[in-house]
């Protein structure tokens, strides 16, 4: 009986439904407007940044051209002349001398290992125990 009364109190009249629908619609519209405003603001920001980027790219191109021009032969020569430098023709050249190297000749015999036997034995033990640290250092050429 009590629950029936509560249900009766909660029951909305026709206007109540309409108010709810309008309220929901207004919320949706406000939400949409808020989102649209944000997006519009973002698009303005993007446009502004794109414009800024274009200007920066243009400036970068300009700087690159200046840099390249500074290294251009014409500029280098002009700078050199201003510094009092001038291109000179070498008065003499060092004549090359031919060196006879026969690349096809045999390399020759392997060098003999003159390490004493006891040192070799010690090296074997040390290497086995401690691992090879430096093979080259233990080999005489």
């Amino acid at each position: 009986m009590a629950s029936a009364v509560a249900a009766e109190r909660l029951r909305l009249n026709v206007f109540g439904h309409a108010y709810m629908a309008v309220g929901a619609f207004v919320i949706v519209v406000l939400f949409y407007l808020a989102i649209a405003a944000q997006i519009t603001q973002a698009s303005y920001d993007i446009a502004r940044l794109q414009d800024q980027q274009r200007q920066l790219v243009a400036e970068q191109d300009q700087l690159r051209y200046q840099e390249v021009t500074l290294h251009a032969p014409a500029q280098v020569q002009q700078q050199a002349q201003q510094s009092g430098m001038q291109r000179v023709v070498p008065s003499s050249y060092v004549q090359g001398t031919q060196v006879a190297i026969d690349l096809t000749a045999p390399v020759g015999a392997q060098p003999a290992d003159t390490t004493p036997l006891w040192l070799r034995a010690v090296a074997t033990v040390v290497n086995t125990v401690g691992g090879t640290q430096n093979v080259q250092a233990a080999t005489k050429h």
Binding site: A36, P73, A74, Y93, G96
Partner: protein, 587 residues
């Protein structure tokens, strides 16, 4: 009565009913016709004209923004950038957007920054025009100044421009005739810019979006987007320092020789890569729109000339390779000979007596060259012309090659063979001629001439192909020695470089210029050579057109290649010896 009356009424009733039905049917028919007309019209607009109307509608609310591809850069062999893309600006004004009280301020502002005439600007602002350019393509610094002024009704339009390195003077840019330029439509014109247009230009992209009635972008509308594909970079075999040295020496030489023009072409003997490509006079590619179009013509590739005695290198090499002669074969040269009814003379018209072919080349004797050609035979001579690449285009990767094919072997007359043996009556361009002489420097192999070594990261396929053997390495070595003798004992003496006197190989060429079938007193002079002779680092050809060397009106031999072209060759070679650290051959 009633029966009669009924009988008399029935037909009338039937008539009325019939006429009513007829009227209804007529109305229906009219309605159908009218509806049909409407439907037909509707079908016309909605079906037949659908495509056009849809496009018109799209044009109203759809915006298509092209995203231009970045044009590829061009580098030299040391990766020095030769061309840079820069942004330039064009200023425009919308007179109807400028209030009358602002006109003075706008005109003064534009005139002070851009240097345009203030009165002209004021008259433009007072006109009813909707749009007018104030100035095209000025640098960013000026654009920044204009932006800061915030002038009403004035706008800036960004455009991309190719900027080239400065050349030997304010009026030229480096390697202008080789590189060409890019016009305001973005199309490469002349030289490499034209030849490699597709590769350099890339493919433009686009953004397509929707706009409202106020031309604002509808952010939530659908967008389509295609990224641009940027153009590829080119890496050339050219050396910017050598190019500059060549342009400088050439300009000085042409002025000294009081010549009409001159050109220099330098090649890497092993690869065929072009190291320098210079023309004088040249032009400023950064200011092509104010340049006489005649200067755009590249004389290296588009100008054909008769090479003169430089051709004797080809003639004697072919004859030696065919086994018809050797450098020591002795002939008798009385100084003249009659061929095909024509008398042909040596340049000095002297009787040289018994001489060998090394002497023939040293002293550039026409009769000797002709005898060598006769010794190997016409067919062999022609085959060697083909093998040296003188009967077909060089096919170098630069736009605008001009080429005059010689007649076929069957159609050539005896006198034509005779004159061709010493380089007259046969037309070549400089690239063909240098590539032919380079065969000797390259051990008998033909290195295909080219300018671009790499496109993007791809190596030029030409560099990976085996080179064609034209003459044997032994023949090339013999000819090299003969060309060394030309420098040491013959007409090449003015090209000698200190320290390399024994290591230079070269040959002069001087030929009269024909006009309307008659040879005139004007000449083309040239010198070709390579250095060091046994291990060449470069092959160079210098051509001077119509020199008028001081004093040559009294002595025409002062216009010879040894006086005009050789000093230019020497000056450039000296610069290369220093820049490239070239040392003489070890001995």
């Amino acid at each position: 009565m009633s029966t009669r009356a009924l009988a008399s009424r029935r037909p009338g009733t039937v008539d009325r009913v019939g006429s009513a039905r007829l009227r209804v049917l007529s109305m229906l028919a009219v309605a159908l016709i009218l509806a049909g007309m409407v439907w037909t019209r509707l079908a016309y607009w909605q079906v037949a004209q659908h495509g056009r109307l849809a496009m018109q509608a799209q044009a109203q609310y759809r915006e298509f923004v092209e995203l231009p591809a970045l044009r590829g850069a061009i580098f030299d062999r040391n990766l020095t950038q030769l061309v840079v893309n820069t942004t330039v600006y064009s200023a425009f004004v919308s007179p109807d957007q400028v209030a009358p009280e602002d006109r003075d301020r706008v005109a003064s502002g534009l005139a002070s920054v851009l240097g345009v005439d203030r009165a002209t600007l004021l008259s433009t602002l007072q006109s009813t025009a909707k749009f007018a350019y104030v100035q095209r393509r000025f640098p960013k610094a000026k654009a920044d100044q204009l932006r800061a002024m915030k002038l009403p009704g004035v706008g800036l339009q960004e455009e991309t421009q190719r900027s080239y390195l400065p050349g030997i003077g304010s009026g030229t840019t480096l390697a202008a005739n080789l590189l060409g330029f890019v016009d305001w439509n973005g199309d490469g014109r002349y030289g490499l810019e034209q030849y490699y247009q597709k590769v350099l230009a890339g493919t433009n992209g686009y953004i397509s979006s929707y706009r409202d009635l106020a031309n604002r972008e509808i952010v939530l509308g659908s967008h389509t987007h295609q990224d641009p594909v940027n153009g590829q970079d080119l890496v050339l075999s050219v050396d910017a320092s050598v190019q500059y040295a060549a342009e400088q020496a050439l300009a000085e030489g042409v002025k000294r020789d009081r010549a009409e023009s001159g050109s220099v072409l330098i090649m890497d003997p092993q690869t065929g890569g072009i190291v320098a490509w210079a023309d004088y006079p040249s032009y400023n590619a950064n200011d092509f729109n104010h340049t006489d179009a005649a200067l755009f013509k590249d004389n290296v590739l588009s100008y054909v000339y008769e090479p003169g005695s430089v051709m004797k290198v080809v003639t004697l090499s072919g004859a030696m390779n065919a086994g018809a002669i050797t450098p020591t074969t002795v002939i008798n040269d009385p100084g003249y000979v009659k061929v095909g009814g024509y008398w042909i003379y040596d340049w000095d018209r002297r009787n040289h007596g018994n001489i060998d072919y090394t002497y023939v080349l040293e002293h550039s004797l026409n009769v000797g060259a002709m005898q060598a050609m006769l010794a190997e035979g016409h067919a062999n001579f022609y085959n060697y012309l083909q093998a040296f690449g003188l009967t077909q285009k060089s096919s170098i990767d630069v736009a605008g090659e001009n080429f005059v094919p010689p007649p076929s072997v069957a159609k050539m007359q005896d006198s034509q063979f005779a004159t061709a043996s010493f380089g007259q009556g046969i037309d070549v361009n400089m690239v063909q001629m240098l590539a032919a002489i380079n065969v000797i420097a390259n051990g008998g192999k033909y290195a295909p001439p080219h300018v671009v070594e790499r496109v993007g990261s791809q190596l030029n396929p030409l560099l990976m192909q085996p080179q064609r053997q034209v003459v044997s390495a032994a023949t090339a070595a013999q000819m090299t020695q003969m060309m060394q003798m030309v420098v040491q004992k013959g007409s090449g003496w003015t090209s000698r470089i200190r320290g390399f006197e024994l290591d230079q190989a070269g040959k002069t060429g001087t030929s009269q210029i024909p006009v309307n079938g008659q040879y005139t007193q004007d000449v083309w002079t040239s010198f070709v050579g390579f250095l060091p002779a046994q291990h060449p680092r470069f092959t160079m050809l210098v051509v001077v057109r119509k020199p008028n060397y001081p004093g040559s009106d009294r002595d025409w031999t002062l216009n010879d290649g040894y006086m005009t072209a050789e000093p230019i060759w020497k000056q450039i070679a000296q610069a290369m010896v220093v820049d490239w650290h070239i040392t003489p051959d070890p001995r």
